[in-house]
């Protein structure tokens, strides 16, 4: 491994780490609350969670059916 190459690679790593360190962060409690809120708000539309009325399956014969 040539020293010249590893020095510039390290330089890039240092710059990259500085960039990542500077990211604005929020608390996990707030982030978690928002993830949960999204789930709860969209639960009724989630067919794999609540099931779908028979006849809406795209792999059965096509019928027109309104889905949320």
């Amino acid at each position: 491994m040539s020293s010249g190459a590893s020095a510039s690679a390290l330089q890039r790593l240092v710059e990259q780490l500085k960039l990542e360190a500077g990211v604005e962060r929020i608390k996990v409690s707030q982030a978690a609350a928002e993830l949960q809120q999204y789930c709860v708000q969209n639960a009724c539309k989630d067919a794999l969670l609540v099931g779908i009325p028979a006849g809406s399956n795209p792999f059965r014969e096509p019928r027109s059916c309104a889905l949320l």
């Binding site: 020293s3 780490l17 969670l49 792999f59």
Partner: protein, 353 residues
């Protein structure tokens, strides 16, 4: 800033120690905000009841290991690729197959318009095929080579239009290409080994994507600048699959370390691990249900585990495949999901109503 050859060793040593101290600082900053666990916040949410999933359709046309699949936005069609040179498009009862010039077609994707597909693998390329269901037309003849990597293509995805494709490769890079001209628009360097997967952020959240690789890192990229904006290194082995949470604020990963993990982008850290002592085989493919509450994960032990994303518990195991599950996607409208396997089949499943 030029490196003075005479002071090389000093410069290297000081750069190394600066890098180490920055890494330490990054961990410190992340830890400061780690005030609670996701499953604790989710204690007040109603637990999920038992649910039963039924296989609605088993597609057997490949005759070889299925490696990848993707849904068309119209929800009726699927494209899938396999170990031996083939890609298949399935619509209702009809299957349309194209023979590729390479084995191990590891990646395939549907164009947003539904009028074309992209695929590639050991040929190191990503090619686009306009779709025709006229059996007299030779689809392979209209192929357009778009991307060229220096190692295998592991993943590909159209961006919001048919005009651009994002690729991931065993050469350790990701790249953004113009489909019409084949021009390289942006390349993404930073992974220390093969990149195995990528996923585009939902369009509302802007121009970013996440990639996962054999270096155990998941990296989030700015598509315009080519810059890595966040990186996460908590997995203990290759990351085979990454998928954004539907709101775009987080993403999940599946790894050869037999765990799936959830990373929140605004908290800038891992916020959940989905694992069990009894699960010892790698997770090859992950996807969320529409609300983000469920995480479906396909494993090398032939099963699919369904996880409660908020509470961290497994809610169901799905059997049926007779070899590794290699690929898994929830349909665009969230009503079904499809899994592909080395057992040569694809299975479309939904809730037993």
């Amino acid at each position: 800033m030029a490196t003075d050859g005479l002071h090389e060793n000093e410069t290297l040593a000081s750069l190394k120690s600066e890098a180490e101290s920055l890494k330490g600082k990054l961990e410190e900053e992340r830890a400061k905000l780690h005030d609670v666990e996701l499953h604790q916040v989710a204690e007040r949410v109603e637990a999920l009841g038992q649910f039963v999933m039924k296989t609605r359709r088993t597609l057997k046309g490949h005759g070889n290991k299925v490696l990848c699949m993707d849904w068309c936005k119209d929800k009726r069609r699927i494209v899938s690729s396999s170990q031996v040179r083939r890609i298949c498009c399935v619509t209702g009862e009809r299957e349309h197959a194209v023979t590729m010039p390479c084995t191990w077609v590891m990646a395939c994707a549907y164009a947003p318009s539904g009028c074309a597909i992209a695929c590639g693998g050991l040929d190191n390329k990503c090619s686009v095929y306009p779709l025709t269901f006229d059996k007299n037309e030779n689809m392979a003849a209209k192929k357009k080579s778009v991307a060229m990597h220096t190692n295998y293509l592991s993943a590909c995805s159209f961006t919001n239009s048919d005009m651009q494709i994002l690729t991931a490769s065993g050469d350790g890079t990701c790249a953004l290409w113009d489909v019409e001209s084949g021009q390289l628009l942006q390349s993404f360097h930073g992974h220390g080994a093969d990149v195995l997967c990528l996923d585009l952020a939902p369009s509302e959240t802007g121009n970013t994507f996440v990639s996962g690789g054999c270096d155990k890192k998941a990296m989030v990229w700015d598509m315009r600048s080519g810059q890595c904006v966040q990186a996460f290194e908590t997995h203990e082995s290759d990351i085979n699959s990454v998928r954004y949470y539907p709101s775009g604020d987080a993403f999940a990963s599946g790894s050869d370390d037999a765990t799936c993990r959830l990373y929140d982008l605004r908290a800038d850290r891992e916020v959940a691990i989905y694992s069990k002592e009894s699960i010892i085989f790698g997770a090859s493919s992950v996807d969320f249900s529409l609300s983000g509450r469920l995480l479906f994960a396909g494993y090398n032990d032939y099963t699919i585990n369904v996880w409660d994303v908020l509470k961290g518990a497994r809610v169901s195991i799905l059997f049926g495949h007779e070899n590794r599950v290699s690929t898994l996607r929830v349909s665009p409208d969230g009503t079904a999901f499809c899994s592909g396997s080395w057992d040569h089949t694809l299975r479309v499943r939904e809730i037993w109503a």
